[in-house]
Symmetry: C2
Subunit: 411 residues, 2 copies
């Protein structure tokens, strides 16, 4: 079954917002075996909307449209649909009930402007909206089944999940089911990840391999549309096992966890705690780790010691070490890691010191240089790494991921 | 002049990537006075590409297409253009020179696969690409001038800026020029920002007001297409001054700075230093501040003291205070702020302690509760705030921005 996704709004065409609706809807459609053949974004004026609907109608089996169902005069989707279909806008009892129920649930009278939202193109099926004021609706145009959803993200997602996707599944009772493995890798560029997995699609017929760079992490998806219930799923599982073997130590997670979530999983399994001393990463390691819910169980302290005086006072790094080797050195990060482990009482201390840029580099220590120290009960080590980037955000991020990866491997 | 933006690639249609190219290109086109009337995304197979080009040709004056110019067999844009135009693919001397120059600059031989990239549809104009292997090109199809650019973000942006936008400006010598003011606000929901600015477009005829929620910040853009050089620019400036007056204390920056950049600007102007003690924000405040280049001049320390023991050891918060009032209290954040100011020697200490969620809330201190402490030479204060959100990332972010806003107002 082929689908088009249509999003509406001047703010998309002006580049003021990135069109995340189209990607979210597409991912969900793909998961129930619907093939998305195109996205279209148009302005929310009557002519553009009608042109878009008529252009898509008859060209695919289904279409999902978002936006323009609000209560104001410039919300024109329902009118554009009615004119495209050559029917009138009529008050829909189910839509009126949906609007009324929304306001009654909040002990409010229904504003007159919201009753406009209950006028739908004649012949359409209302999809009641319990999480917002705009009822959604569905209508067939020239053989294409359209769903019209509000643009408010929470409402759109709710109605997609609760109504549209089940309806799509019902439309193709013998349809395909997506089976998918998400592998998170770190440490290999995308081209080398691709080389390691080359030929996989020929060996395991019917599976697909997709790559997505969320730098500095490369995500690999191994997926297939399983039609007959079983055979392709087994092939997909075998392909995933082979991919994990080939990617080896670069696999952060074989089931889609982020780097921080993978570290958290290992810390929980081994019942260990961690503390971080950050310089160049500026708190990013702490922020990534505390994004994981429940991190207070194993995350004790991150000391972001930008100033040398803070390295001395908070972490007990010696002034002699700083004077002799500088802040960006093996000696300093080892003392930082040991200091934060000691101060916090954590099982593992990890520390970063480097030059994120764009300024501050020297011939000896260019922008992109970082030292990472790790202190455990077994001893203290330091790792040296030079990133190819000159840009501050990129370097902070890659330094933080290098440190988390070192931590992951040490647990 | 009307434009369409076409992006290509299966990863967009599967929802694996968000289409940021379309929004970036649209914003740039809008800045030189080109009206974008639609975005279209299609798969990178021959049939879909040809259908997209023929669908757009003749419907607008200009079109920008990205992707499918690479060296491999599945990069089909040039072939699809040639077939759409009914012309042959021919080796283009300028394109061959572009590819050769790229590899020669890196002291490498030109791989055979890259020579394919020098074969362009007959009649097209090559746009040499000094930052990548894929030459771009331009061709007229049914009255529409198309530009075909590589999908690699860095190359696409370089060629848009250096070649496509100047060409667009040249196509409309008496065209409009965008004048724009970007205002960053914090503390008012989008609806109230809109209410404060209501009527602005009627008072200052010809200007437009746009809103963009980068939660928790609301950005306001006041813009106009100035055609005659001067008159509309003055109106736009007057409208911007009026908007700044109406938004008052909620204006973080009147010239597009982020919250952290606005704080940095104030710290530099007043020659002050800052240190942060973070609990629930987990390092996010430090990370936001150190995203600003040059932050080592004024950012001394962020201590992310998740564990109570770390609050005592690192910041000198008293065990009695923690026992009597709990970690999430006015008393604790005041001692944290004073402690981090004292330990670091900074002019200002700022501290957070709260419950980001989704777990950890109580009836007395529900998820979303935060206390923020600020210590200066003039004394110490604490601010209480309850966010309406239950989600961890949202709360971390809003807590961090509340703290930065308090800091901004205190400098």
């Amino acid at each position: 079954m082929r689908a088009m996704v249509i999003t509406t709004g001047e703010e998309i065409l002006k580049g003021e917002v990135v069109d995340t609706h189209a990607s979210w809807i597409s991912e969900k459609l793909c998961e129930v075996g619907v093939e998305v053949v195109g996205h279209l974004s148009v302005g929310d004026n009557l002519a553009s909307l009608k042109e878009a609907f008529l252009r898509v109608a008859g060209r695919c089996e289904v279409a999902v449209v978002t936006g323009g169902l609000g209560p104001t005069e410039d919300d024109l989707t329902a009118r554009a649909v009615a004119e495209s279909a050559g029917v009138a806008l009529v008050e829909d009892p189910a839509a009126t009930a949906s609007v009324a129920a929304y306001f009654e649930g909040r002990h409010l009278a229904v504003p007159a402007s919201n009753l406009k939202q209950a006028r739908l193109p004649k012949g359409s099926s209302c999809i009641p909206n319990p999480v917002g004021t705009a009822p959604a609706f569905s209508l067939e145009l020239a053989g294409t089944r359209f769903w019209f959803l509000p643009g408010v993200p929470r409402e759109m997602r709710y109605l997609m999940t609760e109504s549209v996707l089940p309806a799509m599944v019902a439309l193709q009772p013998n349809g395909a089911r997506l089976v998918k493995t998400a592998i998170t890798t770190f440490g290999l560029p995308e081209s080398l990840v691709g080389e390691r997995l080359s030929g996989l699609e020929s060996i395991f017929q019917g599976i697909h391999v997709g790559y997505r760079a969320s730098l500095p992490v490369i995500e690999v998806k191994i997926w297939a549309f399983d039609r007959e219930g079983g055979s392709l799923e087994k092939i997909q599982q075998a392909a995933s096992a082979e991919a994990l073997k080939r990617l080896g130590e670069y696999v952060v997670s074989g089931h889609g966890l982020s780097m921080a979530e993978a570290v958290a999983e290992r810390l929980c399994e081994t019942n260990k705690t961690v503390a971080v001393a950050e310089s160049c990463t500026g708190g990013l390691i702490g922020s990534l780790l505390t994004d994981v819910s429940g991190s207070s169980d194993w995350f004790l302290l991150s000391a972001v010691t930008y100033a040398n005086s803070a390295k001395e006072n908070v972490l007990g790094v010696s002034g002699e070490t700083l004077a002799a080797h500088g802040a960006v050195s093996a000696e300093t990060v080892k003392e930082m890691a040991e200091g934060v482990k000691r101060t916090s009482g954590a099982d593992i201390g990890i520390a970063t010191s480097g030059i994120a840029g764009p300024t501050g580099g020297t011939d000896e220590k260019p922008v992109g240089t970082v030292w990472i120290g790790i202190a455990t009960d077994a001893g203290t080590e330091a790792l040296h790494f030079v990133s190819p980037f000159k840009e501050r955000h990129q370097n902070k991020r890659i330094f933080a991921f290098k440190a988390l990866d070192l931590l992951r491997r040490a647990i």
